[in-house]
Symmetry: C2
Subunit: 136 residues, 2 copies
Amino acid sequence: MKESESKLENRNIKPTAMRELVLSVLSEQTAAISLADLEQTFEKADKVTLYRTLKTFEENKLIHSIDDGTGSVKYALCKETCQCHPEDLHVHFLCTKCKKTYCLNDIPVPSVNLPTRFTLENINMVIKGICSNFHR
Amino acid sequence: MKESESKLENRNIKPTAMRELVLSVLSEQTAAISLADLEQTFEKADKVTLYRTLKTFEENKLIHSIDDGTGSVKYALCKETCQCHPEDLHVHFLCTKCKKTYCLNDIPVPSVNLPTRFTLENINMVIKGICSNFHR
DNA sequence: GTTAACTTTGCAACTTGGTTGCATCAATTT
DNA sequence: AAATTGATGCAACCAAGTTGCAAAGTTAAC
Ligand SMILES: [Mn+2]
Ligand SMILES: [Mn+2]
Ligand SMILES: [Zn+2]
Ligand SMILES: [Zn+2]
């Protein structure tokens, strides 16, 4: 059985050809990608199918989505063990020059002391700034 | 001179009737509001005018915007002294039951130790969960 | 093996929130 | 008063995401 196949099955996702392709594209990325980005990596693919593929992946915690405030949601692979609980979360970085969004997997979202009238379910922390890639 | 008038002029915003009205609506809120919310508080008002009013307010740091991931940006008044620099920022809370977004003005965004290849400009931290308001 | 049931895919069409162009109106300056 | 500048209102547009539905593909039952 292929690597990608078992990765899908581990998350209870039926491994179709399309899904294996999408997973392999996601695996190649160094930054999170949007639905539109994903669409462009394929010669000919339906946006809706890709959309639903990403949704399935996210529902099964194979990937997580990042709302970086740019207006298009980005997606990146989860770690093997990730359950997308607050303690699994990490910080994201959006470079305002190259517009890329990176998972800072090594930087956990810092815990905050919420007033007792609030109970926590999830945290989204996006840092904007400039990365040291070449910016033309 | 009216309170609202001087608040506008303090931020170098020409105080028109429309702008004073919008500012007063913003002042009444206990939670951040969206453009659509704002539109509904007026009997008859043009969405575009309100949109541009909010934009002007934000550009002049009278208000700040919050992207809470719901798909509609929320707005809330800044503190008098706010310059919207990283050290001025606070955490926001989105209740998944009542869908309201609150400024946690007392909770500054925790600082994170970024790898040196990243320089920080801004941080958006939104906590999702449940607030203790009555939820029907 | 054929049929039935269920799932995935592809196309078209729609929704929503946000945005732009441009003409009109109001305020300010000369 | 005429000219300039800025604010407002209407219509039209745009991008991202989403839904409905039929066709194609898979799996399970007979
Ligand atoms: Mn990530
Ligand atoms: Mn706030
Ligand atoms: Zn960069
Ligand atoms: Zn609530």
